[in-house]
Symmetry: C2
Subunit: 249 residues, 2 copies
DNA sequence: ATTGCTTTGATAGTAAAACTATTATAATTA
DNA sequence: TAATTATAATAGTTTTACTATCAAAGCAAT
């Protein structure tokens, strides 16, 4: 497990000045994660945050325009960090099926990720993503914010997963939908197991993460597997390719 | 298309007095749907609602404790209404596969449902469910509210779908997870198509609803289909059953 | 050492949101 | 007709979500 001093590339428009670069900024990030986890986004205010970290409301406003943008900043940091973690884990893997396994394991379970940043508690941030994640884009400002690039990290994470799905089955008709669905399901079923167990089959025991992983693996591999028709086309392609290679050589 | 005068059974604890039974109550429901759709949950206030419907803040507070509970009331009304619509459509269907088709078509597309209530615009309410639906249970109050039964309608809708999945394949290991996922996916991909198209494969053209329906059908039937192992067990069961019937007759 | 610049802290203030309370009046019901 | 209940009108409180101002601290260049 490596301890990182790196700075993740989060959209600059999300903040007034880069919080990763100053003491106060890092303090804001660290404490906002703790407080958000403790009281939830709705009850969270900059005043309470200032009290907890022994600073002032006005100082926090010098870093973030609003608590919504602060949440978006944290989510973007998280998505960038997941992309980074996935990148690390995929380096030694060539088989697309194994890549998919690694991705699923990474998006479900923080504990299995291999990098740590000192001023961010990734486990707690993960809990915030599970509870508050969808609030990022379910708002009237979504189109405007999307134009500003506030969801680029999430979309590129999604694209990364979709590409792996297409590696496994180039004819799969819904790669992006499945990728976003895997990401959403991971969060939803962790949450459901803990709060609304009748909406899932995952039991809320010690092994929730492993069970959600199993669920996603089951869904993913059952879906990505080519149908009879698709696999016929794939075999035909394979044949063509082999003939082409023969022609060349 | 029938016009209903029925009153749907929504948890009484969600409101201070039943809004379906008075003129003002129905006016609140009708106008809150219009205003929520127009400005979104975050910007929505009882003051604005009162202005729009030519009443007062205090009057609205006599029906609902807060805008959160009003939203929850509307969502519960919607879930109850979907259950009712599904019930109607399933009456003439006996084949479980056909039931699943009917369910998917009902949860995706309001236009295909067969009942209308005069003081509720179901199409607009559906849009609200798509945008604000997940906010119902992503809050710090979820456990408390769950104890009060505020999610019973959603859970029983989910259970209804899970039962059909088990009719198709009694050995399917994740009936509830798949049911809730179908419900969530329906909303998500309508939303993504409109606002975050890179998170889905559905194009935002005239036929979004039909395409989301196709997506769900693809996912559902590909997943529910027994694997080799499961189908062997099922065939064995079938054999036993036939022998049993023979024994009895 | 002094000047200037930036960051933070301390304080104050505003507008809107999220309620609560009171009283008068209109509509129902007994 | 009296009693009850629902609604409207008004006013007030507390909290949230900011903005503005100014002083102090720190540091960098002259």
């Amino acid at each position: 497990m490596q301890l990182l001093a790196i700075e993740l590339d989060v959209n600059e428009k999300l903040c007034i000045r880069n919080p990763q670069r100053t003491d106060l900024g890092r303090k804001i990030l660290k404490n906002s994660i703790l407080l958000l986890n403790e009281i939830g986004f709705e009850r969270f205010t900059f005043k309470k945050l200032a009290q907890q970290m022994d600073s002032t409301e006005a100082s926090i406003y010098r870093y973030f325009e609003s608590k919504h943008l602060l949440l978006l900043y944290l989510l973007n940091w998280y998505w960038e960090w997941i992309k980074f973690s996935i990148g690390l884990r995929l380096m030694n893997i060539s088989k697309p099926q194994e890549k998919l396994r690694a991705v699923i394991s990474t998006i479900v379970d923080t504990a299995k990720r291999n990098a740590k940043v000192d001023f961010i508690d990734e486990d707690i941030l993960h809990r915030i993503v599970v509870v508050e994640g969808t609030k990022a884009y379910h708002s009237k400002e979504v189109d405007e914010q999307n134009k500003e690039g506030f969801f680029l990290s999430y979309k590129s994470l999604c694209q990364k997963i979709a590409d792996i799905l297409l590696e496994i089955n180039p004819l799969f008709p819904y790669p992006r939908a499945m990728a976003s669905n895997l990401l959403e399901m991971a969060n939803n079923h962790i949450y459901f197991a803990q709060h609304l167990p009748r909406l899932t089959d995952i039991e809320n025991d010690s092994n929730v993460m492993q069970k959600v992983e199993d669920l996603l693996l089951f869904f993913a591999f059952k879906l990505i597997n080519p149908t009879g028709e698709e696999s016929a086309v794939l075999k035909k392609d394979e044949k063509k390719k082999r003939m082409l290679i023969q022609d060349i050589s």
